[in-house]
């Protein structure tokens, strides 16, 4: 192994980046030395991906500077980053399924393969074969990516980043944003072998949720929290426990999640599911949801919990199984049917399904309950505004007026508008899909407070938390799902909560 040189391959000095309502990066400084693997860890929303996107030219920082090999640079686009020697493997895959493997690897760089003004497929496939060999992927470069498994696509994505190696003579830096989340154990080991090999020639930044993986490959580890770098570890003398403590940064969770207000659930069953199944999504899911209860559902991506939530809210239909609402057989074939039975969904994609950004706060709040604000066929604007005002006060929503455009509010305030919408519609069961995604800490606490308000009023909540910690802190009962099936169920009374380890062993 080469000794790391004194001038860092990549350095970030005091970088800040804000989005409306959220400071994604707050004065972050970060270096990757030559031939070094740097781990980057933190909870969801801590700013890891934002940092990598700044390094890859997707985001332009509001403040601070970037240095490559000690020289200040401005990266206006991923292409420019690529030409500077920085390539990124994304968390969400960027492979275009309809193109071939070779076309994907060299997307945007077709001019390298021109012959008489046309792209030479043969030459491109030849070059792609070289890149594929690096990741030990035994497929023909002319294969359409749609035919590949997710894991293979991920390897193609990595090959695409590695193609930088044969094109740039200077130092190269590879940014890996959760590259292992869809890989099998064997492929992860292969990836680690590639990283060890690549280290001789490149510098690497590595994001993963799996702390053991970060420990295994990293020379140094940065911990991020709420947009800041809170801790830097030398990779040799750190344990998973140390890392975890700094990621969370709070020892006392009890107050944060308002556990004192956790209600004992009543005997009244609001929804009962029996053997719900949907092909390719979930199988034989049964549970009873009682008034006053927060039912947490834990599971990794692909566990089927998102599909289950959407099915319960009428967005998709289940294939078999039964659903009872208040003891009556119910079948939710559409969203209106679910809302009519008092079931609402706060979606993870707030700006797509949660609210109409062009609508005013009042208009969004009454969207699911418009008939309540109609008199003689016309909208009753007075009643609407009054209702909106009372919820703005109650939920402490920061908006200039009920008539301000919702799109101009911060993420946290927008989320409160979505919650108010369902409260005004009078739902009995609210399904929260990542309710605190992308909102700041203060707004998160307001959302938690609101969840407690709802349960103490006899509503029931199904929670797909943003983090395990959140699921454990808020829920009175927790279902764990894996590969579409419920693998465990935990009672979670205040003071008797299961630990993350308890849940994780049933999740993976």
């Amino acid at each position: 192994m080469n000794a790391p040189s004194s001038i860092p391959a990549l350095e970030v000095r005091g970088v800040s980046k804000s989005f409306p309502g959220v400071k994604a990066l707050d004065n972050v400084s970060f270096t990757i030395k030559r031939n070094e693997v740097v781990g980057l860890i933190g909870e969801n929303g801590a700013g890891k991906t934002s940092l990598l996107k700044v390094l890859n030219g997707i985001y332009q920082p509001d403040e601070g500077e970037l240095l490559v090999d000690g020289r200040p640079v401005k990266l206006a686009s991923p292409r420019q980053a690529f030409d500077t020697g920085i390539a990124m493997v994304f968390q969400e895959q960027t492979i275009l399924p309809s193109l071939t493997v070779a076309q994907n690897i060299f997307l945007g760089r077709e001019e390298e393969f021109l012959r008489f003004g046309l792209v030479s497929k043969a030459r491109m496939n030849e070059a792609a074969a070289v890149e594929l060999k690096k990741v030990h992927l035994d497929i023909h470069p002319g294969t359409a990516c749609v035919k590949l498994s997710f894991a293979d696509r991920q390897m193609v994505e990595i090959a695409k980043a590695l193609s930088l190696d044969s094109r740039i003579t200077g130092n190269i830096t590879i940014l890996l944003d959760e590259p292992t989340s869809v890989l099998e154990r064997k492929e992860v080991e292969l990836l680690f072998a590639i990283i060890a090999d690549l280290k001789k020639r490149a510098s690497i930044a590595f994001i993963s949720h799996r702390l053991d993986e970060v420990l295994a490959v990293s020379d140094r580890v940065y911990v991020m929290r709420d947009g800041k770098v809170v801790k830097e570890f030398d990779g040799k003398d750190v344990t998973e426990k140390d890392m975890h403590q700094h990621m969370v940064g709070r020892q006392l969770h009890t107050e944060y999640y308002r556990e004192a207000r956790q209600t004992a659930c009543s005997d009244k069953v609001l929804i009962e599911a029996r053997n719900l199944s949907k092909a390719g999504a979930f199988r034989n899911v049964s549970f009873a949801l009682r008034a006053g209860e927060v039912l947490g559902i834990a599971g990794v991506i692909g566990s089927g919990r998102e599909d289950l939530a959407r099915c319960l809210a009428g967005h998709t239909k289940s294939d078999t199984g039964t659903l009872e609402v208040n003891g009556q057989r119910a079948r939710f074939a559409s969203v209106p049917q679910a809302t009519a039975q008092g079931v609402g969904l706060v979606p993870a994609e707030r700006k797509v399904e949660g609210l109409v950004a062009q609508f005013s706060v009042a208009e969004n709040m009454t969207l699911a309950a418009l008939p309540k604000f109609v008199a003689k066929g016309l909208l009753n604007f007075g009643a609407e505004t009054a209702q909106a005002k009372s919820w703005i006060d109650r939920l402490k929503i920061k908006t200039p007026s009920p008539h301000a455009m919702t799109g101009g509010l911060s993420g946290g305030n927008q989320q409160k508008v979505v919650l108010a919408k369902w409260r005004i519609a009078g739902v009995k069961v609210l399904i929260l899909d990542h309710p605190t995604r992308g909102i700041d800490v203060g707004a998160k606490e307001d959302v938690y407070e609101l969840v407690r308000d709802m349960t103490s009023e006899g509503l029931a909540v199904i929670l797909l938390g943003d983090t395990l910690e959140e699921v454990i802190g808020l829920s009175s009962r927790i279902l764990v799902m894996r590969d579409g099936e419920v693998t465990a169920s935990f009672e979670a009374p205040p003071g008797g909560k299961p630990t993350q380890i308890d849940l994780v062993q049933h999740m993976v």
Binding site: S334, V335, P336, G354, L370
Partner: protein, 316 residues
């Protein structure tokens, strides 16, 4: 420029543009400035406005209705062919024909999940043939005595103002109330701005969409009836060359082609702009056949000015 100012400009620019155009034409021909002439110009604009008024709702939900000119022509044929037989009842019959065409297009679009562009283009073909069938492929004259007994509401004068204007104003008021003051109008805006959020709020979006297309067909048919009343005849090609000016009127008035933003009074202003441009061109000796070129240019220019294209990620 602040966002608020931009919005204000967006609202008032069409009115300012209309006033400038009127002044321009007026300096070219001073006889243009007279109450009588203004009333004539406005009355001449009403068929175009009626055609465009219903499509405004469709464009606001982010769709398009390409069948309106065929629908208007068919309505004129139904009116002219059956006025002698059914009398007053022919008028609701002709308008109903338009509503059915709108219903057909919307059912194809919502049930079969086919883009409205294709669905209404296909319906347009069917409706065109229906027009030929009703009229036996000919232009049909409406005898003056029938016109006098059944169509005077559309062509005469009331209180010194041409009846076309009364019809247009009533249509504008009714549609504006529907759009601004009812849940239906609220949902039209919501669907255009962010359809998925409206669906996720438990609203039967298809029903709202179908209603919008039915209104569009209804208003186009009403336009065809008024057109036939004014011309004294119905023909399967009566409203040809009306589609482009109608869409131009909507967009020039400031209704966003991407949906979510718009109003019927904007379309009223837009229709007047199109009409004044047409008169201006006639004054300047631009051939009638070349005028469609100008409408094409105006349409592109209006979209280019009103649309914040930097926010569009892709254009298809």
């Amino acid at each position: 420029m602040s966002k608020e100012w931009k919005e204000r400009l967006h609202t008032y620019l069409p009115i300012v543009f209309l006033i400038v155009l009127v002044l321009l034409v007026g300096t070219y021909d001073p006889s243009f400035f007279s109450v009588g002439n203004f009333l004539t110009v406005t009355a001449d604009t009403m068929t175009l406005f009626l055609m465009a008024s219903g499509v405004t709702l469709v464009i606001m939900i982010g769709g398009i209705d390409l069948s309106i000119q065929a629908v208007a022509s068919m309505a004129s044929c139904i009116l002219a062919a059956y006025l002698g037989r059914f009398g007053m009842w022919t008028i609701p019959l002709a308008v109903l024909g338009g509503a059915v065409a709108g219903l057909a297009g919307s059912l194809v679009s919502t049930r079969l999940r086919i883009p409205s562009f294709i669905a209404t283009l296909a319906v347009s073909g069917v409706v065109l043939s229906a027009g030929y069938w009703f009229s036996d492929t000919r232009s049909i004259n409406i005898p003056p005595d029938l016109s006098a007994s059944y169509l005077s509401w559309a062509v005469g004068d009331t209180l010194g103002i041409p009846n076309e204007i009364w019809v247009g104003v009533v249509a504008m008021v009714v549609l504006s109330v529907l759009l601004q003051l009812t849940p239906f109008g609220r949902l039209i805006r919501g669907i255009g701005a962010q359809e998925q959020a409206v669906i996720a709020s438990g609203i039967n979006v298809d029903r709202i969409k179908i209603a919008a297309y039915v209104l569009s067909g209804t208003m186009a048919a009403l336009a065809g009836v008024v057109m036939a009343a004014r011309l004294g005849s119905g023909s399967p090609t009566l409203a040809n060359e009306f589609l482009l000016p109608a869409i131009a009127a909507i967009i020039v008035g400031g209704t966003a082609i991407t949906g979510g933003v718009g109003s019927v009074w904007r379309t009223f202003v837009g229709a007047l702009i199109v009409q004044v441009v047409r008169i201006g061109m006639t004054f300047m000796g631009v051939s009638v056949f070349a005028q469609q070129i100008v409408f094409g240019v105006i349409l592109v220019a209006a979209v280019a000015i009103t649309l914040d294209r930097s926010k569009l990620l892709v254009v298809k």
